[in-house]
Amino acid sequence: MIRKEMVAMLLAGGEGSRLGNLTKWIAKPAVPFGGKYRIIDFTLSNCNNSGIDTVGVLTQYQPLILNSYLGVGTDWDLNRKRGGLKILPPFVQKSGGRWYKGTANAIYENIPFIEQYDPEFVLVISGDHIYNMDYTKMLDAHKHSNADATISVIEVPWGEANRFGIMNTSKNYQISEFEEKPDNPKNNLASMGVYIFNWQTLKRYLIDNEHTSSSYDFGKDIIPAMLADNRSLVAYPFEGYWKDVGTIESLWQANLDLLDNDVALDLNNRHWRIRSADPNMPPQYIGPNAKVTRSMVNEGCVVMGDINHSVLFYDSHVDEGSFIKDSIIMPHAKIGKNVTIHRAIISEGVIIPDGVTIGNPQGPIELIDQSSNYKQFYRSSVN
């Protein structure tokens, strides 16, 4: 097997429980985002655009849609004879079968996968973050600093630092302490869940970690253990757009962020394409009386109504007389006539009958979802 300098391990097994019914049937990395993508497209595209061609995707929770979406990685140019994208679900072995017990355990169980490529470095990333990042620059910094691990960090507002995993650093971004959601943060550098490890060092810690009682987690166990041994951990400051779309509110916000011209996440950069499995829909049709402003609309959409500050995913239809503002309409959703929608996420395939009103201009974000049969006819309680 050909040697790879760096192998990426992409954690995609999370449930995303704070996304409620959005993740009832699909893993969080497969949640639709930005009119045509799924969340995992951003990290996979980062890998491809950074020249990383070997990516192990660790899946566990509700993998059906995620697995069929990923396939062999063709859509991200990761279908390679040597390396490429490999889906790594939990498996049974002589000693019995077991689920991945945590992020560190998931990597531990796949040590043989990584060893095939005899890499010098391992990049650990998470499939539920939205950002464009060149990992080669981070690798350069990692090599330059001679660290055992480099952790990408982003400056967050001090007032929000208590919601993140915070890296306390000394000079030259040496990490001295890691605090998960500190009540009184000493720093405002939040971990982005992007790590580069020297593989031989990480392997040792992964094996040791299996023998101690732990939560098998990178943030809670591996990083503190390395710090306790005075290993050199360096923070790599990232500037640009980064978002953990962990909640309904943040998913909604991150979608609408794309509509503002001054946000840093650029989908139109021809040299940094976000790749996805394109459903190959006909062009979008904007009707004779339609009005579309401050919005993003994808192929396959038919818009007859008024769309303002909203994101329409592929094959969503909005009929005459309807008004949609500050909302996300997911794929295959059909909005009837004279419907009013404010501040809502309409899930995939939901049908909204004529005349319904959903949400209000100042209210909380409403999630209109589907039932277990996946194509429920939703009747609003509002109207």
């Binding site: 930005g34 009119g35 045509k36 509509l259 989908l267 139109n268 394409r273 976000i274 790749r275 996805s276 394109d278 190959n280 006909p282 062009p283 979008q284 049709y285 904007i286 009707g287 004779p288 009386n289 339609a290 009005k291 579309v292 402003t293 401050r294 919005s295 993003m296 609309v297 994808n298 192929e299 038919v302 769309i307 994101v311 329409l312």
Partner: protein, 363 residues
């Protein structure tokens, strides 16, 4: 199934489509907001379970070959069968028979028993299985698709048919026209190539010869669905703009018979606060800050603030400057329209701005 081999013969360039055919053959002219002309017939074949397709191209095929690649986007990147491309320098001088004849090996090696021949890149979404079934059942030597001619269809070859669906002539005038799509057994096809390669130029001449001599059993198969043959800039313009009629759209884009095309990973189209778009088809990757009315926009078009595009076809990556006005125009790829420019065509034929040019007023 999978008993039919498809052959698409990309017709010689049509002078009446210039300058759209300056840099490309007709088959790769952009059409319908996100497609190329060849996508429709190619997708029709794939959706009809035809998995072995040979494409005969003229020499100006760079854009077509770039588009087709290894056939991946049509699911034609196969270990067995798939997409085969036969570039030919002979199509112009000697007709298509020599090109077909020189590809005999490909036919002989293929496992399929029937050959579906298509001599133009029609805009259509045809299921070829009913044609195949009738052909097998009728035991005809050749079955040719035809349609009732409408006013605008004068460029379909007129044919005459008897009560038993036998094609008995190619008169000057007729109510029905041949689609230049036909099916026959592979052995029969190879026999005809061997017999006529030194006598005739085009396969269509061979058909006419046998119709006139009544020496083959040639039947017709009537097709009632949507089909457009594009030979002039006017037809190109009308067929594109015709898609703004949702009924026509639905006939061409059917739910279970997708039209496949090369995928480009363009982001969704962005509409700014100042955008106003009505009755238009828009591809992905556009940024629209101005006004668009009754028009077709291909991917990556940027319409600046205050610009007004009416009744026009704007191909990929064009830039339309602030407060520029366009009416009944066709902009080929990567055309730049300067701010405050005003471009419109005379009533007769829509004007085409050639690829990569900067448009000038008073064209």
């Amino acid at each position: 199934m999978n008993n039919i081999l498809g052959i698409i013969h990309v017709a010689n360039d049509n002078k009446r489509l210039q300058p759209l055919t300056n840099h490309r053959c007709k088959a790769s002219i952009p059409f319908g907001s996100r497609y190329r002309m060849i996508d429709f017939i190619l997708s029709s074949m794939v959706n009809s379970d035809i998995q072995n397709i040979g494409v005969f191209t003229p020499l100006n095929n760079r854009s077509l070959l770039d588009h087709l690649g290894d056939g991946k986007d049509w699911d034609l990147d196969r270990k067995q069968d798939g997409l085969f491309i036969f570039p030919s320098d002979r199509l112009k001088e000697t007709g298509n028979l020599t090109a077909f004849y020189s590809a005999k090996d490909y036919l002989e090696k293929s496992s399929q028993d029937y050959v579906l021949l298509c001599f133009d890149t029609f805009i259509t979404n045809i299921d070829f299985q009913p044609l195949y079934k009738q052909h097998v059942k009728s035991r005809a030597d050749i079955t040719i698709m035809y349609k009732d001619k409408q006013k605008s269809d004068n460029h379909f070859i007129p044919i005459e048919i008897d009560d038993f669906q036998n094609i008995i002539g190619e008169p000057n005038q007729s109510e029905i026209g041949s689609l230049d799509i036909m099916i026959l057994r592979k052995e029969k096809y190879l026999d005809l190539l061997n017999e006529h390669v030194h006598k005739n130029d085009d396969f269509q001449d061979v058909i006419l010869y046998h119709i006139q001599n009544n020496s083959l059993n040639i039947k017709g198969f009537k097709y009632n669905g949507y089909v457009k043959k594009i030979s002039t800039t006017q037809q190109y313009f009308d067929s594109n703009i015709g898609l703004l009629n949702l009924e026509e759209m639905k006939q061409l884009f059917k739910e279970n018979n997708e039209i496949y095309t090369k995928l480009k990973d363009e982001p969704p189209t962005k509409y700014s606060a100042s955008s106003k778009v009505n009755n238009s088809l828009i591809a992905n990757g556009c940024i629209i800050e101005g006004n668009v009315e009754n028009s077709i926009l291909f991917r990556g078009v940027h319409v600046k603030r205050g610009a007004l595009i009416k009744n026009s076809i704007i191909m990929p990556n064009c830039r339309v400057g602030e407060y520029a006005k366009l009416d009944r125009m066709i902009l080929d790829k990567e055309v730049i329209v300067l701010p405050y420019d005003n471009l419109q065509s005379s009533e007769q034929e829509p004007k085409v701005i050639p690829k990569k040019e900067t448009a000038r007023t008073n064209v």
